[in-house]
């Protein structure tokens, strides 16, 4: 009995001691693997294939972080999380970084103990309806029942949109996105509402994809980006600049194929990006080749966009606002200098 008691006490103290804060970078290096929280199965963004290998746009972002930090893009453990659990998983330290289709909002950035590290995809909320219902505009949705994912900005935007347009609706919420899609497919709701990227991703998985149509209205801004825990500036910098490396690489024409030749480039921007000149790698707390590893192993922004969700993928999403700033879009990496 007494032994059990001392055991309990000892274990409690040990647990207490082990939760004392250490930098995420050191943790990840010590573990030798990056733990990344991602969507359970969103076509184009993150999907495990039959062998359990994850592919997709946000998956590649995690791979890029792993390449930069550990020098090896394959050293990632993916934790599938639904919308309801994703922030808690990050808060509690179950994952090192959250790469989900999570919208960057003020309250999430300031009151959840997490912080967003940029926008990897500019999105907006839309509506999917059945063609047979003959709806041309979201303004015709008065009285509709709408399937949504719980704990998302979708849930809140819907209420705002219907209220400001003097319309009513009935929400059917599920914790899990698959359940939302299933409920819509089986006719429980008239409308499936989510970010348009998710609507398109869901549609290519539906049995009768041709029966549904996405309405033209976009009712919100949904900047999707990676998030890390608050209070670890170094790790925030790594998350932020991993994305910027990929954007800058696209801007300066550095790809996974030509990165080695580009080291000899005369362009000082490229030289600083690839760590040939300056101290970019050292400044973020990593080796001088970290950006080369990211580009070589994962690719620049355009490469991961096109192969996962763009031209080369079944989703065929246009670059649109996700084009670089100098091509009419919003994607913009601050200067590396």
């Amino acid at each position: 009995m007494r032994k059990i008691m001392t055991g309990v006490l000892g274990a409690a103290l040990a647990a207490y001691a082990s939760t004392v804060w250490a930098g995420t970078l050191d943790d990840v290096k010590a573990k030798g693997i990056l733990t990344c929280g991602t969507n359970p199965a969103t076509a184009g963004f993150s999907v495990p294939d039959n062998d359990g290998k994850w592919t997709g746009f946000v998956v590649d972002y995690c791979r890029a972080v792993a390449a930069g930090v550990l020098g090896d893009a394959t050293k990632v453990k993916f934790i599938p999380l639904n919308a309801k659990d994703r922030f808690t998983a990050l808060q509690s330290g179950e994952i090192d970084i959250l790469a989900h289709n999570a919208t960057w909002t003020s309250s999430r950035d300031t009151s959840l103990g997490i912080i967003f590290a940029g926008t990897y995809f500019y999105d907006g909320q839309g509506f999917m309806v059945r063609k047979s219902d003959n709806i041309k505009s979201a303004k015709d949705l008065d009285g509709a029942s709408i399937c949504v994912s719980q704990g998302t900005t979708t849930e809140l935007n819907l209420a705002d949109y219907f209220r400001s347009n003097g319309m009513t609706f009935s929400a059917v919420g599920f914790a899990d996105e698959d359940a939302v899609i299933k409920a819509y497919e089986e006719g429980r709701c008239d409308v499936f509402s989510a970010d348009t990227s998710s609507l398109n991703a869901a549609r290519i998985r539906m049995a009768n994809a041709g029966d549904s149509v996405v309405l033209p209205e976009i009712i919100s801004k949904e900047p999707l980006g990676p998030a890390v825990r608050q209070g670890d500036d170094q790790w925030l910098n790594i998350a932020k600049w991993t994305l910027n490396v990929m954007l800058a690489a696209e801007e300066f024409g550095v790809t996974s194929k030509n990165v080695d030749e580009m080291k000899d480039s005369d362009n000082p921007n490229i030289r600083r990006l690839l760590g040939v000149e300056g101290s970019f790698g050292k400044d973020v707390g990593l080796g001088e080749t970290w950006s080369q590893d990211i580009i070589k192993q994962v690719g620049n922004y355009s490469e991961i966009f096109e192969r996962s969700i763009g031209k080369e993928s079944p989703l065929k999403i246009e670059r649109g606002v996700n084009a670089l700033w100098n091509a009419g879009g919003l994607q913009y990496a601050p200067p590396i200098r």
């Binding site: 103990g113 704990g151 849930e155 209420a159 919420g173 359940a179 089986e186």
Partner: protein
């Protein structure tokens, strides 16, 4: 060493070899170490939250929730607060739990008694029910009821029309809504009066039976009172209520009362599942009543139905009530599986949407735990009081 051959008051006052003192020391030690563990966890949690800038207040309670809930027993709209969303969740949990307990009890008693029937078919049907239902996980049953039975119903435009203005479709059952007019209170009073008269008559009848042995037709009088009186009041007040019928407009039915498929699936699933356990408890309770009791009742000339109702079941109840309480508590807790089929119960609304929109994980989870604890303790206290009434009175 304590000399245990000596009477207690002669032994030395304090000794760790004394069983009693040892027990106290161990228990005190356990309490202290538990307190240390709990405090350590609390301190750690608070400091972690502070470090990461997560607020540890209940300020969110009065903030606007901004999301919609389809089934609400109490007033709620998207401008309501998170606090109101909490009460919506509590009310929905209580509704499905109370109805579930009622249905599971009725169904469970019927099946439990059927298992002991001398009719071979009835007994086998009841046995198969119990064996099939209690061996399949509840979650699978809920998903079955929701996905395989309720959702494949036709879309609103192709609803199945039932008599009386009732429609059945994949959005649920749509019933005519009752609208009360002046005079409706009279009917309400008539129902109360009828119930009072019925209770009084029962007391009178049992008095008569105790004195003279004569049995009065209690059931017939009850039926007459409980249907007749309200009916007279209804006609007398000039039909004080009317129905508004649902009609298909736009996407869905407008007007009328809607029973959502999520609610129906959860209620059916919980009742059917728990009934299989209740049935086994009832069967066990009845079989535990000695056969001699039945034989004695038969020898006195009591027919089968009365033997069961007056002799066997009252004795069986004493055995049935304690395990039945556990099943009721299980049902209440299992109602939280609502989350998988989208029924807006406490866990779905509060520990789901509210937690996510506010990020107040610690506060929300703590409140949710307390609510389940309180509901369970109240249920258990009520059942214990009920049990006390049925307990064998030993003289």
């Amino acid at each position: 060493m304590v000399d245990i051959t000596q009477p207690a008051h002669l032994r030395r006052a304090f000794s760790i070899y004394d069983k009693k003192i040892r027990a106290i020391v161990y228990q005190a030690g356990l309490v202290v170490s538990l307190a240390v563990v709990v405090t350590a966890i609390a301190i750690q949690t608070v400091s972690n939250m502070r470090q990461r800038g997560i607020p540890l207040t209940f300020d969110f309670w009065n903030q606007t929730a901004g999301f919609q809930i389809n089934q609400t027993l109490i007033p709620y709209d998207t401008l309501s607060s998170y606090g109101q969303a909490f009460w919506v969740g509590v009310a929905n949990t209580l509704l499905v739990s109370a109805l579930g307990i009622l249905l599971a009890t009725i169904l469970g008693f019927l099946i439990g008694i059927s298992r002991l029937s001398h009719n071979w078919i009835v007994a086998k049907v009841a046995t198969s029910y119990v064996e099939v239902i209690r061996n399949i996980p509840l979650l699978l049953q809920l998903l079955f009821w929701y996905n395989a039975v309720l959702k494949p119903l036709p879309a609103p435009k192709a609803s199945i029309a039932l008599p009386g203005g009732i429609y059945l479709n994949n959005r649920g059952i749509i019933l005519p809504a009752v609208e009360f007019h002046a005079g409706a209170a009279l009917v309400g009073m008539a129902i109360v009066a009828a119930a009072a008269f019925a209770t009084a008559f029962s007391a009178y009848a049992s008095g008569v039976q105790n004195r003279t042995g004569k049995q009065l037709p209690v059931l017939v009088v009850h039926l007459l009172l409980l249907t007749g009186l309200p009916l007279v009041a209804y006609v007398g007040a000039g039909s004080p209520w009317s129905f508004t019928y649902p009609e298909l407009r736009g996407f869905n039915f407008r007007g009328g009362q809607q029973i959502y498929p999520e609610f129906a699936a959860l209620l059916i699933g919980l009742s059917v599942y728990t009934a299989s356990f209740v049935a086994e408890i009832v069967r066990g309770g009845i079989q535990a009543v000695s056969k001699g009791q039945t034989e004695a009742a038969h020898a006195l000339g009591l027919p089968k139905g009365k033997t069961l109702r007056l002799v066997v079941v009252p004795q069986a109840l004493r055995i049935i009530i304690p395990p039945l309480t556990s099943q009721y508590l299980n049902l209440i807790k299992n109602s939280s599986l609502a989350v998988f089929i989208g029924y807006p119960d406490l866990v779905q609304v509060f520990a789901g949407s509210v937690l996510n929109q506010t990020g107040a994980a610690v506060q929300v989870m703590a409140i949710t735990l307390v609510v389940y604890l309180v509901i369970s303790l109240i249920t258990s206290a009520a059942m214990n009081a009920f049990n006390l009434r049925f307990a064998l009175v030993e003289r």
